[in-house]
């Protein structure tokens, strides 16, 4: 169960290098075997779908076809980037839902001696594998330096839990996977209502003012809630919030300093890895001050608010989780 086909995506080698490095660092302690899909190409991000239909899906499907060829012992493709994950999952799903699309894409693939039968592969995101396959129990057992005292805002981003063709996530709006994982690392996880709000996506490139407003909402709310840093699962989110924070501050005349790290970097730290091994320091908004909180092992100063005493007010309903039966939180 621990072998997977791996689709890194373009950013893993460039803007999201820290993500790539930190994934590399945690794979081994968790007994995961990630086999990179040979000669994969860019998934087209959100750009191609808005130009042509068949070419866009053929571009994505080439990766699926290559992965299907490479299947041995596993039919699961792992993508760490939310946009790649969504594109791959989407192509697989729509080729089935609209058979004519599937036929045409396969006709195009045939020009390169490839073919893909939709439904052959399971396309999953890295955090899905970590939470549901590896399990929080195992992750907890690898923690040697708990992140006690580090106030983290879990930021899932939008393209991961939505549209969720295969019903993999606990919720579309307030999924708990990242919260649970960060909690397993010992971090103080802040309830972040904007966890699946958009970071602006490609708007930083084409409509910066719109994008700045979206970035502002995210960092302002995180700041308001006293976060030391944000943890993300997506290179695009990291890039937008990190690299454009300076410009956003300039645009609004604000002075936010909200570092944003990949959740895998935090996992690496908790597992006892060294910061430089995990790409820490590659972020433009420095996390040095934030991480000082673990470096000096600050004791837990603030207990999370305990259950409300009965006489204080009216009782709350129990919280809903779609995956009540699923082995997520042990």
């Amino acid at each position: 169960m621990n072998k997977y086909l791996f689709y890194p995506g373009c950013s893993m080698e460039s803007s999201g290098k820290a993500y790539g490095d930190s994934i590399h660092a945690i794979v081994e302690p968790l007994d995961l075997d990630f086999e990179e899909i040979d000669d994969w190409n860019c998934c087209g991000a959100t750009e191609y779908l808005g130009i042509n239909l068949i070419p866009a899906y053929s571009l994505i499907a080439r990766n699926l076809a290559l992965a299907a060829k490479q299947m041995n012992g596993t039919h699961t493709v792992v993508a760490p980037c939310s946009a790649c994950y969504l594109n791959l999952a989407k192509a697989d799903y729509y080729m089935q839902e609209r058979p004519t699309l599937g036929e045409k894409v396969n006709e195009a693939l045939a020009a390169g001696d490839l073919q893909y039968k939709p439904g052959t592969l399971d396309v999953r995101h890295l955090i899905d594998i970590l939470v549901y396959d590896v399990g929080l129990e195992k992750i907890r057992s690898k923690v040697v330096r708990p992140l006690h005292g580090l106030k983290v805002v879990p930021y899932m981003g939008c393209m991961l839990p939505r549209p969720d063709y295969q019903h993999r996530w606990s919720d579309h709006e307030h999924p708990t996977e990242l919260d649970d994982l960060l909690r397993a690392l010992g971090a103080d996880v802040i309830d972040y209502p904007l966890t699946t709000e958009c970071c602006g996506g490609h708007m930083t490139q084409i409509g910066p003012e719109t994008a700045f407003e979206l970035i502002r909402r995210l960092i302002a709310d995180a700041d308001e809630r006293g976060a030391h840093l944000m943890a993300t699962v997506c290179p695009m989110c990291q890039m937008n919030i990190d690299a454009y924070q300076h410009e956003t501050n300039g645009f609004f005349g604000t002075h936010y300093h909200m570092p944003v790290l990949f959740f895998t970097q935090l996992m690496g730290l908790a597992f006892g890895k060294e910061p430089d091994e995990l790409g820490i320091g590659l972020e433009l908004v420095s996390s040095r001050n934030a991480l000082a909180n673990i470096g000096i092992e600050v004791p837990i100063t603030q207990e999370p608010a305990g259950p409300r005493k009965k006489d204080e007010g009216l009782p709350m309903p129990r919280r809903w989780t779609k995956h009540e039966g699923k082995e997520a939180v042990k």
């Binding site: 307030h174 209502p193 904007l194 308001e224 009216l314 009782p315 309903p317 779609k322």
Partner: protein, 676 residues
Amino acid sequence: MSDKRSSPVDKKLERVGVYVCHCGSNIAGTVDVVDVTKWAQEKLGHLGVVITREYKFMCSSLGQELIEKDIKELGLTRVVVAACSPHLHEKTFRTAAKNAGLNPYLVELASIREQVSWVHTDKAVATAKAKAVVAGAVSRVIENVALDEIKVPINPNTLIVGGGIAGIQSALEIANAGFHVYLVEREPSIGGHMAQFDKTFPTLDCSACILTPRMVEVGTHPNITLLTWSDVVNVSGYVGNFHVTINKKARFVNEELCTGCGICQEKCPKKVIDEVYEAGLGYRKAVYTPFAQAVPNFPVMDKENCTYFIKGTCKACEKFCPTGAIDFKQEDQLIHIDVGNIVLATGYDLFDARRVSNYGYGRLPNVFTSLEFERLSNAAGPTTGNIVLRDGKTTPKSVGIIHCVGSRDKNFNNYCSVICCMQGLKFAHLVHERTGATVYNFYIDMRTAYKAYDEFYQRVLEEGTLFVRGKVAEVTNAARYENEKGKLIIQVEDTLAGKQRRIPVDMVILSSGLQPRHDAKEVGKLFGISCSTDGWFTEKHPKLDPVATMTEGIYIVGCAQGPKDIPSSVAQGAAASARVLDKILQREVTLEPIKATVDQAKCSGCKICNGMCPFNAITFIADDNVSEINPALCQGCGTCVAACPAGAISGTGFSDAQIIAQIDGLLLRNLEPELA
């Protein structure tokens, strides 16, 4: 082998009359009725068609007289009417035949309106298809046999399951007519959801004020046996003769001795959140009556939470009970009753608003469900009627009421829950009246389609409630601007203004929809009735028979059949009672003679049919090594007929011979005598 062998030699020709209806231009507009008539005369004459006629409206009294006259004068032994669907006028023409002395089951309808003229456009093609349909009907009617209706005696007692307002109404109607009713309720008290409400729309009567007298009447009625804290566990038998087993759960309170004084509840040290009656917003004790006016007024002990049952000590209730009515040794008790009819009034469950996670219920404290708000605004509720936030003290200054929560949404329930619009308006009025807060109602479509409902909408408009047409996208506590801090922000597209709006409020009320009881499927199975895709019990006919079900003698009323408000539930309760009384007063019930029978000479006792019948109509007689079908239990589906490997089971109304003949006719294999 050849089928020649099975058909009797030289069967005497029947005398068949074929009547083709124009239905004004409904049929004649697309089908050449005159051509069909002539064709039937020419091509089907050898089968015994002696007269064919066309007429403007066959179902008119003149049309019927035409048939009656021909039956008498021409000695017709079979009649085919090519007109509309049998579901519309089969009865009409059967009655006409009966009036003329012909067995009504020797009449056959050929549907050339719903299945031909209304669904096709090409006249030639439609005419040709009409001919085939008529040919099928002629072949079939020749194989029809005269049938007699079946009569079964009726037990005058009635079982009503569910003690909400629909069940209460139904019970009282029957009991007042002088017949005995068993009313079974699974909660400790009758009253149902209505007992939880504060006010009822559109007149704003106090719910308890109008409900309590009815509850008391049920509790004291000499013709009603009230069994609360009880479940129906088994049902067998058939209309007029049901045998029912009821499990009366242990109350741990002796009903003979208990006076309902309430001391046990007062002394019980264990406080439990009341998830049922108080909708999770208040507390009760481990021994409790759900509310002050409960009927019956005997408490029940909640075994899961009682300290004595958990730890083995306490017994405070027993110590203080003045009459010694507490009985920790009480056990569940099975009660067997016989009844003639059953009314199911099992009600609804409230949609679980936590599922709409973008509305934040369960995450954001000041988001409330409709049922919570009912308790909040109820003078007998946990806040004695003060509308406050979840902190228990702050009065909201602004309130948003969201309609269609979980309803009209393919992600949840795809139907309209009917009551939510009026409920939302009622809440708006109550909030406005009690707190003076600014109230917003968010709706997709305002549905106020009954007497005095739209007037209530106008009244709420007049009171200054603000209406925003748009399905709310989300409720969030993530403030974007200064004025949003500390508030719940309702984000919505105001579709009439064409703009996205963010409206900060203190409190959000979700007008949650209704959904079928979580165990509706199992209950349906227990009583032998079915559920729709949505999960509501299926009525016999959605318009013309809304309280009866496919199983004779079983009726459905109130929200068990589908979402509805109090007036409609009451009307249905009464309607079902009228149907039950009708059955009781007839003393016997007439059943459609569509039944299966086993030819015992042919039956080999292979026991294949015995597993086929969901109504347990087929019994195996071990001594004779044959199976037998109880005609009163048989519902006439014909599954066993098709299943019998020996061809030993035959079914009336839809016999093999009839269906085969119809297939041959439809394929025009009957246009000339088959040559040997």
